[in-house]
C-alpha cells in the first residue's frame, strides 16, 4: 500500500502557555478529499499553518509521501507540493487573471531577458483554466471585476498549476451563494477526478462538507475528537457530538 500523500503524527504546538494543538495525528491519501471541521479556536487554522510550513511544530513529525520532513518555510513546503488557498485568496486586484495565476512564477522571455512574456502567460492561463473546467472568457481582465466564485476558482487554479500535490483549502465556500458554491464544488470534484492530488478542506458548513468530502475529522480544543468516513456518519451525529461537549462544559 502506498504511503499517504501527507501524514502528521503527534503534532503539538504551544504558544507560550497556550496549547493550540495537543497530539494531533492525521493523514490524507492521494485522490482523497478530507474535510476538517470544528469551532473557532479548535485548532484548525493552526494545524493548517503547521502543515503549510508557516509554523514549526513544538513536537511531532510530518511525513510527505512517506518521507519525514522538517518544513523550514512556506516556500519549502510549496516546493514539496504543499500549497494552500487562503480565505483572503491572495489575489491582487489590480492585476489580470493571467498575472494572478502566475504570481511569483511568471513566465519570462528569453530575449529581451527578464522581461515578462505576457502572450505566453495568457495562453498558459487559458489552457490551465480550461483543463480544470473553469470558464473565464478573458484572461486579461482584472480580477476585481470577477465574481466571488470566479476569483476562488482562479486561486485554486493557481495552486494547481503550481504543481501542488497536497492542496489545502481554507473555507473555500465562505461567503458564496448557492449557485457559485455549486460551481466550486464541481471544480473540486473535477480536481479529484484528475488524480495526483490530495485535498484537505477546512470548512464550517457540515452539510456541504459531508456532501463533498470522502472523510471528515472533527477538532475540539486542539485535538481530534472524531474521525469517520462521510458515508458512515451524518450531520445529526456530528451535531450531537458537539452539543454533548457544550452540555459537559457549559456555555462560556
Amino acid at each position: 500500500m502506498t504511503a499517504p500523500a501527507l501524514r502528521v503524527e503527534a503534532i503539538t504546538k504551544r504558544f507560550g502557555a497556550l496549547t493550540a494543538l495537543d497530539g494531533v495525528t492525521m493523514g490524507v491519501d492521494e485522490g482523497e478529499i478530507l474535510g476538517i471541521l470544528g469551532d473557532n479556536g479548535a485548532g484548525k487554522s493552526t494545524l493548517m499553518k503547521v502543515i503549510t510550513g508557516y509554523h514549526p511544530p513544538t513536537s511531532g513529525e510530518v511525513f510527505v509521501r512517506g518521507e519525514k520532513v522538517a518544513l523550514r518555510s512556506v516556500d519549502h513546503a510549496r516546493s514539496l507540493g504543499i500549497d494552500c488557498v487562503y480565505q483572503d485568496l491572495a489575489l491582487v486586484n489590480g492585476l489580470s487573471v493571467a498575472h494572478n495565476l502566475f504570481l511569483n512564477r511568471e513566465i519570462l522571455r528569453r530575449f529581451p531577458p527578464r522581461m515578462l512574456d505576457n502572450p505566453a502567460m495568457r495562453r498558459r492561463a487559458a489552457a490551465v483554466l480550461a483543463d480544470i473546467g473553469v470558464n473565464i472568457p478573458d484572461v486579461d481582465a482584472e480580477v476585481q471585476h470577477l465574481s466571488g466564485g470566479q476569483r476562488q476558482a482562479i486561486a485554486v487554479a493557481r495552486a494547481v498549476s503550481g504543481q501542488a500535490r497536497i492542496l489545502l483549502l481554507d473555507e473555500p465556500l465562505a461567503a458564496m451563494g448557492a449557485r457559485e458554491a455549486a460551481l466550486i464544488i464541481e471544480l473540486i470534484r473535477r480536481l479529484r477526478a484528475k488524480g495526483g492530488l490530495a485535498i484537505v478542506m477546512v470548512m464550517h458548513n457540515y452539510a456541504q462538507t459531508l456532501d463533498l468530502a470522502d472523510r471528515i475529522i472533527l477538532m475540539q480544543h486542539g485535538t481530534i475528537t472524531y474521525e469517520r468516513r462521510t458515508a458512515e456518519t451524518s450531520v445529526e451525529e456530528l451535531l450531537s457530538i458537539v452539543r454533548r461537549e457544550y452540555q459537559a462544559v457549559g456555555p462560556h
Binding site: A90, G94, L103
Partner: protein, 318 residues
C-alpha cells in the same frame, strides 16, 4: 471591424479621460491666445512640465505600492548642491552628477528602510526626512544660492538646452512605464500595493519592492533638481520644496493613479503633469495677475477633474 476595435481600445485606456481633458485645454488656450502654440511658448510650456513629470514617475510607483514620499522636493534642492561641492572639489561634472544621484539613492534607502523595517507610515517617515534635508541643504549652503557650473555642452544636455528637460522627462516616463507593465518589478509593485499580505503569501519580497521604489523616487527627485539647476543657471537652497512634490503627486493622481494604491499609470502621470503645465503656462500667457491666478487655476483644475471623472465613468460603460 479592426478599426473600430482600435478606437474602442483607445477609449478603454485608463489614460483616455485625462488625455481628452488635456486636448480640450490645448484647444482652448490656442483659441484664447495666438502665441500658445508658437515655438517660444512650446519651449516654455515644456519647461513648466518636465520637472514635475520626472518626479511624478517616482511618486506614482510609490503610490501604487501603497506609500508616498514627501521629501522628493527636498532632494530636488539638495542634489545640485552636492554636485556643486563635488565639482568645486575638482571632480569632472559628469562624475559629480552621478555621485550626487548616488547620494539621493542613499536618502531613498533611508526613507525605505525606516518605513519598511521600523514600520513607520511613509507619510510620517518622509515628513521627518524632508525637514532634515531642508535643514541640511540650508546648512551646507549657508542659505545662499550659488551659480551652477556652466559646462557648455554638458549643461545643454542636462537642462540648459531648451527642450532637453522634456526629452529627459518623456524618456524617463517611457522607461518607468515599461518597468511597470513589462517587468516583474512592476507586477510586484502593484501586488505590494493591492494585497500586501497576499503578495507576501505568494512569496513576493514586498519590503524589497518598497525600498527600491523609494530609492527610485529620490534619485528622480534629485535628477529633476539638477536639470532645473542647469536650466536657470542657479543652485538655490529654496528651490523645489513641498510645492513641487505636491504638484508631482497631483499629476499622478489626476493622471489616474489613486492615492489609495494598488494600481496606477505612469503615462497618465505624464499627461497629468502636462495638463497642470498647460494650465499654469496658459494662464500666465494670457496675462492673469498673481492675485487672481491661484483662484482661476484652482477653478480650472476642479472643472478639468470633474470632466475627467465623468469621462472616465463613460469610458467604463463603453
Amino acid at each position: 471591424m479592426p478599426r473600430r476595435g482600435l478606437l474602442n481600445r483607445l477609449l478603454r485606456l485608463r489614460e483616455a479621460s485625462i488625455l481628452a481633458v488635456g486636448i480640450v485645454l490645448v484647444v482652448y488656450f490656442r483659441a484664447a491666445n495666438p502665441y500658445f502654440l508658437t515655438d517660444a511658448n512650446l519651449e516654455t510650456l515644456s519647461q513648466f512640465i518636465a520637472a514635475t513629470a520626472i518626479i511624478a514617475c517616482g511618486e506614482i510607483m510609490l503610490l501604487i505600492c501603497g506609500e508616498i514620499d514627501l521629501s522628493a522636493g527636498h532632494v530636488f534642492a539638495l542634489a545640485p548642491f552636492v554636485m556643486h561641492f563635488l565639482d568645486e572639489a575638482g571632480l569632472p561634472m559628469p562624475a559629480a552628477l552621478v555621485l550626487a544621484l548616488g547620494g539621493c539613492a542613499v536618502v531613498g534607502l533611508i526613507n525605505g528602510l525606516i518605513t519598511v523595517r521600523l514600520r513607520v507610515p511613509s507619510f510620517v517617515t518622509t515628513l521627518g526626512t524632508f525637514s532634515l534635508l531642508n535643514g541640511f541643504t540650508l546648512t551646507i549652503s549657508h542659505g545662499s544660492p550659488v551659480e551652477t557650473g556652466d559646462e557648455g555642452g554638458f549643461a545643454d544636455a542636462f537642462g540648459a538646452g531648451g527642450y532637453s528637460e522634456i526629452i529627459w522627462a518623456v524618456a524617463i516616463a517611457l522607461g518607468v512605464h515599461f518597468v511597470l507593465r513589462q517587468t516583474r518589478w512592476g507586477l510586484y509593485t502593484i501586488a505590494a500595493g493591492g494585497n500586501p499580505e497576499g503578495a507576501a503569501e505568494a512569496g513576493i519580497r514586498v519590503g524589497r519592492i518598497k525600498v527600491g521604489n523609494f530609492v527610485l523616487t529620490s534619485v528622480l527627485g534629485g535628477f529633476a533638481g539638477i536639470l532645473e539647476a542647469f536650466r536657470i543657471g542657479s543652485t538655490d537652497p529654496l528651490a523645489g520644496g513641498t510645492a513641487i512634490m505636491f504638484l508631482a503627486v497631483a499629476a499622478g493622481v489626476i493622471g489616474g493613479t489613486p492615492l489609495a494604491g494598488g494600481s496606477g499609470t505612469v503615462l497618465g502621470g505624464l499627461v497629468g503633469a502636462a495638463v497642470l503645465g498647460v494650465l499654469r503656462d496658459g494662464f500666465t500667457l494670457q496675462g492673469i495677475n498673481a492675485f487672481t491666478f491661484d483662484m482661476i487655476l484652482g477653478a480650472a483644475i476642479l472643472v478639468a477633474m470633474v470632466a475627467n471623472i465623468h469621462v472616465g465613468r463613460l469610458r467604463r460603460r463603453v
